[in-house]
C-alpha cells in the first residue's frame, strides 16, 4: 500500500512538473509557429543581416539542423550578407536553438494576389 501511494505521489509530482514546464514551452512554440523572432541579443543581428533582402518569414519557415543553419548562413554571407565571423556564429546559435526540424510548420497566412499579379482592365 505504501508502495502504491509512493508511486501515485511520484506520478503526481511528475505530472505537476510536466504541466508546469510544458505550458511556457507551448507558448514559445506558438509564438514561433506564428512567425515571431524570440527576444535575444542575436535577434537584432538576424534583422540587420537577413532582412536586407528577405522578409522575416523566409527565416521563420525554415526547420533546420545546426549544420544546415551553418551552411545557410555561410551561403548568405557569400551572397553579400554583411555578417562578421562572430556575428555569424551568434546567428547560427540563435537560429539553431529555435527553428529546429521538429518545430511544427509556420502557420499559413491567407492572402489575395498582391498588386501587380493580375493584368489591369
Amino acid at each position: 500500500m505504501i508502495r502504491v501511494l509512493f508511486l501515485a505521489g511520484a506520478l503526481f509530482a511528475i505530472a505537476a512538473w510536466a504541466a508546469e514546464t510544458a505550458s511556457p514551452s507551448n507558448e514559445a512554440t506558438t509564438a514561433l509557429v506564428d512567425g515571431q523572432l524570440p527576444d535575444d541579443p542575436a535577434r537584432a543581428l538576424v534583422q540587420a543581416k537577413c532582412l536586407l533582402c528577405h522578409s522575416v518569414e523566409y527565416v521563420t519557415q525554415q526547420r533546420l539542423t545546426e549544420g544546415q543553419w551553418q551552411k545557410t548562413v555561410e551561403k548568405m554571407r557569400k551572397f553579400g550578407s554583411p555578417a562578421t565571423d562572430e556575428e555569424a556564429k551568434a546567428m547560427v546559435a540563435y537560429l539553431a536553438r529555435y527553428w529546429t526540424p521538429d518545430l511544427p510548420p509556420l502557420r499559413p497566412v491567407l492572402a489575395k494576389a498582391p498588386e501587380g499579379s493580375v493584368p489591369r482592365k
Partner: protein
C-alpha cells in the same frame, strides 16, 4: 441558471472554441480560403495557391502561384528590348512590337516550381516551404522560340541557350538569376516566348512583357521579363544553373549529401495529382460527394487516376475529363458515397509512358520534384 441554459452556454463556448481552432487550423483554413493564395514570403513575392484552386483545367490568374528570387523588375515597355547574341550570324534587338508582329501560337502547359512539395519532405530542406500549391495550368500565347532564333541564325556549334530576365538581386554580390536550356528544347515547336497568360498580357508580377515557356519542363527554366538570350556552345557556370536547381543522378537515402558531379539539371515535370475538392480535416455528411482534382505529367498525357479509401488495399479509377493534353492539367472526378467513419483518401496518377507516383517523394538536397501520392484525411459523420 438552469441546467439547460448552463449546458447551452457550455456548448456555445465549445462551438466558439472550435471555431477559433478552425480559424487557426492550417489545413482547414487553406481549404476554405476564399483569398486564394497562401503567403509564404512577402519579399521576394512567394505565394502558393490554396488546395481548393485545383478543381479546374485552367488556373485563374488571381489564384496562380508566384515565385521570385528577387524583387520584381520595373520594365519600361518603350525601352525594353529582347537581345539575342553569342553564336549567331545576326545578333538581334527586338521590341515588343517586333514580337507582336510575328505569328502567335497558344500552348496550354503546367507551370510548377521545382520546389513544390519541398515543405513535405523529411528531413526538412532549406528554401521556401511550398506544400501543394506552387503549380498551375495556363494557356500561354506568344511566338515560337525557334522562330525568333531563326531570325538570329545560330551558328553550327550552338548547343545551349542562356536565359536572363530583367530582375536583379538586391546586393551586387548575390548571383544573378541565369538559366540555360539545350538548343533542342529551345527549337521545340511548343517552346514559346509568351506575351500572354490565359489570353491577357502578362501582368507585372508574371514576367511582363515576355517569359520563356518551355512547355513540360520545370519552372526554373521559365525565365520572366526575358532580356538576354545568349547562344552558346557550352553550359553556363552561373550559380542558379550550377550548382543551383540540380537533382541527383542517383538519389541517396533521405538527408544524404550528393557530390556536385552527381547532380544534373532538371528537365521535365514528373507525374503528379492532387485532390482539390477536399482538404485534410474536412468533416462531411454521409452520402454522395463529388471528388475533383487535377493530374499532370511533363511531356506525357495522363492515362489514368486511381483513388483509394482504404490505405491502398484497393484502388478505383476516377473519370477523366477529356481530351488529354500533353502538358496541361487533366481534371479527374469520382462520385464517392461514404458511410460514417474516418477516411484517408489518396490519389495516384499514371501517365501515357506508364510512369506513376511514389508513396514517398524521392528526397534530394534541393527538395525538388516531390510527387508523392497525395493523401487527405476526412471525417464522415451523420
Amino acid at each position: 441558471m438552469t441546467l439547460a441554459r448552463r449546458s447551452l452556454l457550455k456548448s456555445s463556448l465549445a462551438t466558439a472554441a472550435a471555431a477559433t481552432w478552425w480559424l487557426k487550423a492550417p489545413a482547414l483554413a487553406e481549404a476554405k480560403g476564399s483569398p486564394g493564395l497562401i503567403r509564404r514570403t512577402e519579399r521576394p513575392l512567394n505565394y502558393e495557391s490554396v488546395r481548393s484552386t485545383f478543381t479546374t483545367r485552367i488556373t485563374p490568374i488571381d489564384r496562380f502561384y508566384l515565385r521570385n528570387h528577387f524583387d520584381i523588375p520595373d520594365v519600361d515597355i518603350a525601352k525594353w528590348r529582347l537581345k539575342i547574341y553569342g553564336l549567331v550570324d545576326k545578333p538581334l534587338s527586338l521590341s515588343l512590337a517586333d514580337l507582336e508582329r510575328m505569328p502567335q501560337v497558344t500552348v496550354e502547359a503546367v507551370l510548377q516550381c521545382a520546389g513544390n512539395g519541398r515543405g513535405l519532405f523529411s528531413p526538412p530542406v532549406p528554401g521556401v516551404q511550398w506544400r501543394f500549391g506552387a503549380m498551375g495550368n495556363a494557356e500561354w500565347t506568344g511566338v515560337r522560340f525557334k522562330d525568333v532564333l531563326a531570325l538570329a541564325a545560330p551558328k553550327q556549334d550552338a548547343a545551349f541557350i542562356q536565359l536572363q530576365g530583367a530582375e536583379r538581386p538586391t546586393m551586387s554580390t548575390t548571383p544573378a538569376f541565369i538559366r540555360a536550356i539545350p538548343m533542342a528544347k529551345a527549337l521545340h515547336p511548343d517552346t514559346l516566348l509568351a506575351l500572354k497568360m490565359n489570353g491577357k498580357p502578362l501582368a507585372h508580377n508574371r514576367g511582363r512583357p515576355l517569359r520563356v515557356v518551355p512547355a513540360g519542363w520545370v519552372g526554373d527554366d521559365w525565365v520572366r521579363s526575358l532580356v538576354d538570350v545568349e547562344v552558346r556552345s557550352d553550359e553556363p557556370t552561373a550559380f542558379y544553373y550550377n550548382p543551383g536547381y540540380r537533382f541527383p543522378v542517383n538519389p541517396g537515402p533521405p538527408g544524404a549529401a550528393i557530390p556536385a558531379d552527381q547532380m544534373k539539371p532538371m528537365t521535365k515535370v514528373n507525374v503528379k495529382s492532387l485532390l482539390g475538392s477536399l482538404s485534410d480535416g474536412d468533416r462531411l455528411r454521409p452520402g454522395a460527394h463529388d471528388l475533383v482534382g487535377v493530374a499532370f505529367s511533363g511531356e506525357a498525357g495522363i492515362d489514368r487516376v486511381d483513388l483509394t479509401f482504404d490505405g491502398g488495399k484497393t484502388w478505383t479509377a476516377a473519370k477523366l475529363d477529356g481530351p488529354a493534353t500533353p502538358y496541361g492539367f487533366r481534371v479527374f472526378r469520382y462520385r464517392w458515397n461514404p458511410g460514417p467513419g474516418s477516411y484517408q483518401i489518396a490519389c495516384r496518377a499514371t501517365d501515357t509512358t506508364g510512369a506513376s507516383q511514389p508513396d514517398v517523394g524521392v528526397w534530394n538536397p534541393g527538395g525538388y520534384l516531390n510527387n508523392a501520392i497525395d493523401r487527405v484525411r476526412v471525417e464522415v459523420q451523420a
